[in-house]
Amino acid sequence: MDLTWSDTEEAFRAEARAWLEEALAAWRERHGGRILSGDTAEGFAQHLDWERTLAEAGWAVVSWPAEHGGRDATRWQWLVFEEEYYRAGAPARITQNGIFLLAPTVFEFGTPEQQAHVLPRMARGDDLWCQGWSEPDAGSDLASLKSRARRDDERGGWVLDGQKTWTTRGAFCTHLFGLFRTDPDSERHRGLTYLMVPLDLEGITVRGFGRLDGDEGFAEVFLDDAFVPDDAIPGGVVLGGVGAGWSVAMATTSSERGLTLRSPGRFTATADRLVALCREQEARLGPDPRRRDRVVQGWMEAEAYRLQTLQTVTDDAEGRPAGAASSLVKLWWSELDVALHETAMDLLGPDAELEGAWSKGWQFSLSGPIYAGTNEIQRNIAAERVLGLPRK
């Protein structure tokens, strides 16, 4: 066991840190120092500019192979980059549903042609992907989804009908990846197909609507006899085979719960900011042992998350995959995020009511126990697949 970073990793860190500092300052300046939420139309454009800045300098997808726009970084370097990214206060990635959820699936299931097209365009921010899983009547029970894709051999493509909802940043994205029922007589997990769909097709209507924080971060996607030709994506719009959608999608969900979506850097940086906030408030208002105790608890839990991740990455590298334990991980980070932000709100006192980074973060943290599979669903999965409790 050795929990120190090697010289190579430290050099990588220094390079990332220097670049981030300069590039972030330049980006903020380009936008007059007024950066808006990436979940508003204007803010999305600003963030797209940031994504392209990352891509041009080769920092958009560090762990990908260079041929697809990455820099062949190891998982360790990726973790280092994430630490630096959040430490520098860089913004949440508007491309994250693409690069953290779709991309791993394309790497695993895509044909070389699909990979060559989808991945570099995603890395550069040319195509912006949103996740089309949920439907109005299919949330936790995703396997009950009804949106259909009908084969049209004559025209060479698929005809889509139905409705997707809660689609993060759907109103600003160019493409959607999602699950569709391709066998109309099928039930539950069978007869589903994973499709990659451009959103500018005739028959597709996207309506953005406000999340808890008021930003238009959600969208409904209405599909009404929309024809998606096979060659809308070179190599085809089907990922992983017709009818294989469920197992292909499940590969994506485990990265959503586990490591890739929520790297520890995000929480350790928040925890460090919370400690700083506590220090400031105590300097102004005097010591408050009860709040300090909660700050420390949050800091320790972020630290435990960091260590657990280091263990997971090691295990993964040595061929001991985490499996269903990713459900425990999802429970941990989502509850941690709420706790960190609630504590910050309490430290701020009356000022917590003002709009600001902490109150914005608090509102977003509340969604963690819901998205990526609700925490109730994760507890069921953990109990059955980690502990082996009976299903019925």
Partner: protein, 344 residues
Amino acid sequence: MRFAFTDDQVALRDAVRDLLAKECPPEVVRAAWPEGPDDRGAEPGAGARSATDRSWVALADMGALGVAVPEAHGGLGLGELDWVLLAEETGYAGLPHPFVETSCVAAPLLAAAGDPGGDLPGLVDGSAVATATALGADLVPWGGDAEVVLSLLLDGEGPWTAHRVDATAAVPVASVDRARRLARLDVGGGTGLGSARDAAVAFDRGALGTAAQLVGLGRRMLDLTVAYVAERQQFGRPVGAQQAVKHHLADAAKDLHFAAPAVYGAAWSLAAGDAHGHRAVSTAKALASDAARRTGRAALQCHGAIGYTVEADLHLYLKRAEALARAWGDAAWHRDRVAWALGL
């Protein structure tokens, strides 16, 4: 960066795990209670220590008691990363002996001080036991049974001091976990032992070893409960199929899943002499204390009334966990030390 134990470390752990599974099943833990029945022939009510002693001797025979003692003193000469998993296993087994106090705290501290009383051979071969208490706690586990009793004290914000105290005046007291064999004794005086740094390291080792035992105890309580709820039927199906039961146990599994790496990370910090050693140990002890306590409550709740009896085994581990959650500084004490380390 590599966060995993070596094959040798895992092999040693497995050997101890197998040994304890054989020599220290619940009946043996039970037999360590003064009134405990002893299936292996000792007289009931007499402290019934013969069966429990067997597990101690077996540990000595494989060298585990001298794990942290330099080879020059007859030990294995290993460090925190080598014994932290053994401590976890002794927790899992509910071993009714002071493994952490003897092998992880006292023995290496005595070795560092040159073994002034010539105690090490006895501690390594299992013919003697040592115990230790910290932070002025005068209720000492195994306080009347130990040949060596150490007290680790903190003067305000330091430095740490270690003393060997006289246990002849120890008064045995009845305690919740009878297998801990508590005695009350004066821990203020005695003869100094080792440097302030040795004493500080000894305290961290005690807190680390106890945190590891708590993770083991948590795992044991979870295993017992998973087995029980898969069998126990109500409403025509196993209670373990009920969501409320599943959620209690998933939460317990989650807390243990994150306390364990904190404990292992702290072991690395001590072994590597990392600058954040105290902070890492305190993080581990606080998280492990809370995780074990919450797991105990979930385990009891999911057992129902059978868990609330001395006939079910759960209470043996539940009581030990509660005792250890507060030994060597409780969660609040350790959070305070982390706060201090963070400049709060």
